[in-house]
């Protein structure tokens, strides 16, 4: 049973270009074509969920409730700069190098 406030978009045509932009992924035309087909068929299965009556049910973010886990605010376990940068694709003088951001 779908509640009145919820719109049911599941299974509707997927705007692959829009989603790829949100996800920051460049896709080729053939990848887009493939995704249009199989996302639609997968979302069709997700549609089953709209038949479940979830009135009054709280959502679970985890398998069991664990909230606000804090530790003492002590500095611990930090890498030195060289270790932290050791996997950067481009680096110089202790900095990560990227193309110019501001023209």
């Amino acid at each position: 049973m779908t509640t009145g406030t919820e719109k049911n978009h599941i299974g509707a045509e997927v705007d692959v270009d829009h989603i790829a932009t949100l996800a920051r992924i460049h896709l080729t035309e053939s990848e887009k074509e493939e995704l249009r087909k199989n996302l639609a068929s997968i979302l069709e299965h997700f549609r089953e969920l709209s038949s479940v009556n979830v009135d009054g049910i709280e959502p679970s973010a985890h398998a069991f409730p664990l909230y606000d886990v804090l530790r003492e605010d002590d500095a611990a376990g930090a890498f030195d700069v060289q270790t932290a940068l050791s996997n950067a694709p481009k680096q110089r003088s202790g900095l990560i190098i990227v193309p110019k951001v501001i023209e």
Binding site: N8, N38, F46, H62
Partner: protein, 488 residues
């Protein structure tokens, strides 16, 4: 010990190491030689560092000689799924996007294995970012099933399962988000444990779906899996989702199966779609428990019919957020074709991720987008509450449950890869255990007529690993599956 040393159980090998009949150096050399012999066919390893591994073995022998043995697994070679960080070793997660990455730190589980003297052996192949049920989604090529190399080993921890089944490691670590330890364990005829959510630290485990991921263990015997779980489990303040539960002496409690009084059989797991040979093997196992003094009762988990859609909404949503960190800026691969800073994100991710990872990021982004958030994501989280509620209700009545692990035995390479939804359905019996946060174990319980292993799943209450391990041990001791090895 009878037979080949690389097929020894950790418990037998410990006795030989203690008595001086065997050294860790000899054992590790045997495992490495075995790997070099069979991995051309299996492709279970992405990388191994022979010299480093031998140094650890020799150090273990030295410790033992001077009476400083650190644990039952001191000197035992253990493989590691390639998404768990080991300092100084490459970590690819089966992906091109992490090519060249070398871990600058140890995962907590690896640190605990080091402190226990384990020999950290080799980085095991996997579906890219643990997304898959067949190990066909690895950038480093698919893994073959040692029982029939034309078949898949299961996934996503296919390399871990194949390696242990073929004697390329004594034990291995994997990870299980929806069945990625239990399903490959079943396909490869070995034991696989998916601990309760929160039982094992995920610090240093590359995240796929954070509300579901757990580090799991593979071994050829239940006792070996219990030994490794003993070492790596327990609270870790570096993982805020790890839970301060009461740890047991899992080895000592293995014989304590009589404490499990009532075993539930969820009727929904024995309906249409289950292979007949698997049904018969599981029913025979249930009869074994019934005649062994356990009370067998039929139970019902009505909401698990929604487990697959709930899982794929939640897991893809979490994955799309977790994998946003792979942007070509701070580590791993960066596209050479990028024209400007934003283009780095698009092109690096477009070139660096494989087809299944892109599909799941796209799905996750879709279900989290503002127009679908309520109808997809929030709704799936609510149905998840209901699934967990079903499990907890059943666990007030029974101490454990038995189900199949998979609807069929290992399928052919290429059989399901073109149809993602069919592939997703192969996790139908394992997924709900992750959603509920319970523990689950896959145990060999038979063979198909064509010689493929069949597994059964034993599900326990959260943090009651000692009970499912004891039940599994009871079955294992009465059957001879642990002595059977693939002809590879």
């Amino acid at each position: 010990m009878d037979g080949e040393i690389f097929y020894g159980s950790a418990a037998e090998l410990e006795r030989l190491l203690d008595s001086g009949e065997l050294t860790s150096q000899e054992l590790t050399e045997a495992v490495i030689a075995r790997t070099k012999l069979v991995d051309k066919k299996l492709n279970a390893f992405i990388h191994f560092d022979e010299e480093k591994t031998m140094r650890e073995a020799i150090a273990s022998d030295r410790r033992r000689k001077s009476g400083r043995k650190m644990s039952a697994l001191d000197g035992i070679p253990i493989g590691i799924k390639d998404l768990i960080a080991e300092r100084g070793q490459p970590m690819t997660c089966g992906s091109k996007i992490l090519s060249g990455y070398v871990s600058p730190y140890d995962a907590t589980v690896v640190e605990r294995m080091r402190e226990s003297g384990c020999v950290l052996w080799g980085r095991l192949n996997m579906d890219e970012f643990a997304m898959g049920s067949s190990n066909e989604n690895s950038h480093f090529g698919n893994v073959a099933n040692p029982w029939d190399i034309s078949r898949v080993p299961g996934g996503s921890s296919g390399g871990s399962a194949a390696a242990v089944a073929a004697g390329e490691a004594i034990l291995a670590l994997g990870s299980d988000t929806g069945g990625s330890v239990r399903q490959p364990a079943a396909f490869c005829g070995i034991v696989g444990l998916k601990p309760s959510y929160g039982a094992v630290s995920r610090y240093g485990l590359v995240a796929f779906a954070s509300s579901l991921d757990q580090v799991g263990q593979f071994g050829r015997t239940v006792a070996d899996v219990a030994s490794l779980f003993q070492i790596i489990s327990g609270h870790d303040e570096r993982d805020s989702s790890s839970y301060p539960f009461e740890k047991r002496d899992y080895g000592a409690e293995l014989s304590n199966h009589s404490r499990v009084k009532r075993i539930g059989i969820p009727k929904e797991c024995f309906g249409d779609g289950l292979d007949e040979e698997i049904r018969r093997a599981i029913e025979a196992a249930i009869d074994f428990y019934g005649s062994g003094g356990h009370e067998i009762v039929e139970v019902s988990l009505p909401t698990i019919e929604y487990a697959i859609p709930v899982y794929y909404v939640i897991a893809t949503a979490e994955a799309s957020a977790n994998l946003a960190r792979f942007d070509g800026i701070r580590y791993g691969y960066r596209s050479a074709a990028a024209q400007n800073a934003i283009d780095i994100y698009f092109k690096t991710r477009g070139e660096g991720f494989g087809a299944e990872v892109k599909r799941r990021i796209m799905l996750g982004t879709y279900v989290l987008s503002s127009e679908n958030f309520e109808s997809c994501y929030l709704r799936a989280q609510k149905v998840r509450t209901m699934i967990r509620g079903d499990f907890m209700r059943v666990f007030t009545d029974v101490d454990a449950m038995i189900t199949p692990v998979t609807p069929s035995a290992a399928f052919k390479i290429g059989e399901k890869i073109a149809d993602p939804m069919r592939m997703y359905l192969s996790d139908i019996y394992t997924i709900s255990v992750n959603l509920a946060g319970a523990c689950g174990l896959s145990l060999p319980c038979g063979f198909s007529k064509t010689g493929l292993p069949i597994g059964m799943q034993i599900i326990g209450r959260p943090f009651h690993e000692h009970e499912i391990l004891a039940l599994a041990n009871e079955f294992e001791l009465a059957h001879d599956f642990r002595g059977m090895h693939p002809d590879i």
